[in-house]
């Protein structure tokens, strides 16, 4: 049967998979050193580009896997949920998120890893995240205008540019490889 195999998000099987996925995700982040805020912010001072290398390797691997499984007819890509595009809120939200990430030294996922491994700063970031979402949720009216602005649906880069899926995949691989090359040079700088 063509993948994806599980429908719905809240069946016992789906939630068991959610937990197992999380364990693998959290362990990988910890093993990469991304539960360490100092290592993570090293990215933004050009001294440790682990964040970039881990993220882009993961994106390339998953992107190539999804593309080829789709091409071979093993994965029905139309049934894979693609995060929707909302141009203004994602650009502004991204900027705000980036400022918060450089301040916190951790992102939402890695803050959970840091907290679970017993680091107080991880716990502080988790508490800050929770309070931040609480505040936004309670005062949502003020943000609703921006939140609902410029919807574009499940827009993908190939669809947007009118370029074949495979060509975009190849371009992302090329950009990532060039990026890794630059990252190694930046790290070796005296």
């Amino acid at each position: 049967m063509t993948a994806p195999w599980i429908d719905g998000d809240t069946s016992a099987a789906a939630l068991a998979i959610a937990g197992a996925t999380g364990v693998a995700f959290g362990a990988t982040l910890e093993r990469a050193g991304l539960g360490s805020a100092r290592k993570l912010v090293g990215q933004f001072y050009g001294v440790d580009l682990t964040v970039f290398k881990v993220m882009f390797t993961a994106i390339v691997v998953a992107m190539l896997g999804a593309f080829w499984l789709g091409r071979l007819g093993l994965l029905e890509l139309s049934r894979v949920w693609v995060p929707e595009t909302w141009i203004a809120p994602q650009l502004i939200g991204g900027l705000v998120f980036g400022v918060g990430m450089a301040t916190a030294g951790l992102c939402p996922g890695t803050s959970c890893v840091a907290a679970a491994s017993g680091r107080g700063d991880g716990l502080a970031v988790v508490a800050g995240m929770l309070c931040g979402v609480l505040a936004v949720g309670l005062g949502f009216g003020r943000l609703a205008g921006l939140y609902e602005a410029t919807p574009r649906g499940a827009l993908t880069v190939p669809g947007w540019l009118g370029v074949p899926y495979g060509a975009v995949v190849a371009a992302v691989v090329a950009i990532a490889l060039a990026g890794f090359h630059v990252a190694e040079r930046i790290e070796r700088r005296p």
């Binding site: 362990a27 502004i92 998120f97 918060g100 450089a102 929770l130 979402v133 949502f140």
Partner: protein, 170 residues
């Protein structure tokens, strides 16, 4: 005390992370996430204290519909993230590390700054409808335009803020 085990090679760890993401995409048709679990928890906590207030927020109301916030897929996933992080840190001899901070910042100040950074990050994640995991990683691999916009904007924001935060980290 033994020295903690070295961190994994970033490309190897990245490849593992990509395979985890690919596996969950194939099995369930959805990707990873993190900030959504915080939103579900915030909705659930608000509902427990003041149900009317929670229902009145269009943002929280979504999480209260259906099976409710505590049966949310991402809540189970993030519990797994914490467990996986705990076990991995224990196995590598990294459990209970000190508060991570720059050399010029005292631990209490670092906790306050971390809290503030977390709150700011939450605002961005709500607006963008995701964070580094759910939007950047998952959407990036699926070539979502919004995911790539978010990723570029987040890196831009972090690089712009970093020089102002030198006193905190360097």
């Amino acid at each position: 005390m033994r020295a903690p085990r070295a961190y994994a090679d970033p490309y190897l760890a990245g490849a593992w992370l990509g395979l985890v993401l690919l596996a969950v995409l194939v099995v369930t048709g959805r990707g990873l996430g993190a900030s959504g679990a915080f939103a579900a928890a915030a909705a659930g906590l608000t509902h427990a204290v003041a149900p009317d207030v929670a229902q009145a927020s269009p943002y929280f109301a979504r999480y209260l519909a259906g099976d409710g916030p505590w049966r949310d897929w991402l809540v189970f996933e993030i519990a797994g993230v914490a467990l996986g992080g705990l076990v991995s840190a224990w196995a590598a001899g990294r459990l209970g590390g000190a508060v991570e901070r720059g050399p010029r910042v005292a631990a209490p100040a670092r906790l306050a700054i971390g809290f503030a950074g977390g709150a700011v990050m939450a605002v961005g994640a709500v607006l963008a409808r995701g964070c580094t995991s759910g939007l950047a990683l998952t959407g990036g691999a699926l070539l979502s335009v919004g995911a790539w916009l978010f990723m570029l904007a987040a890196f831009a924001g972090a690089y712009l803020a970093a020089p102002l935060l030198r006193a905190v980290w360097r």
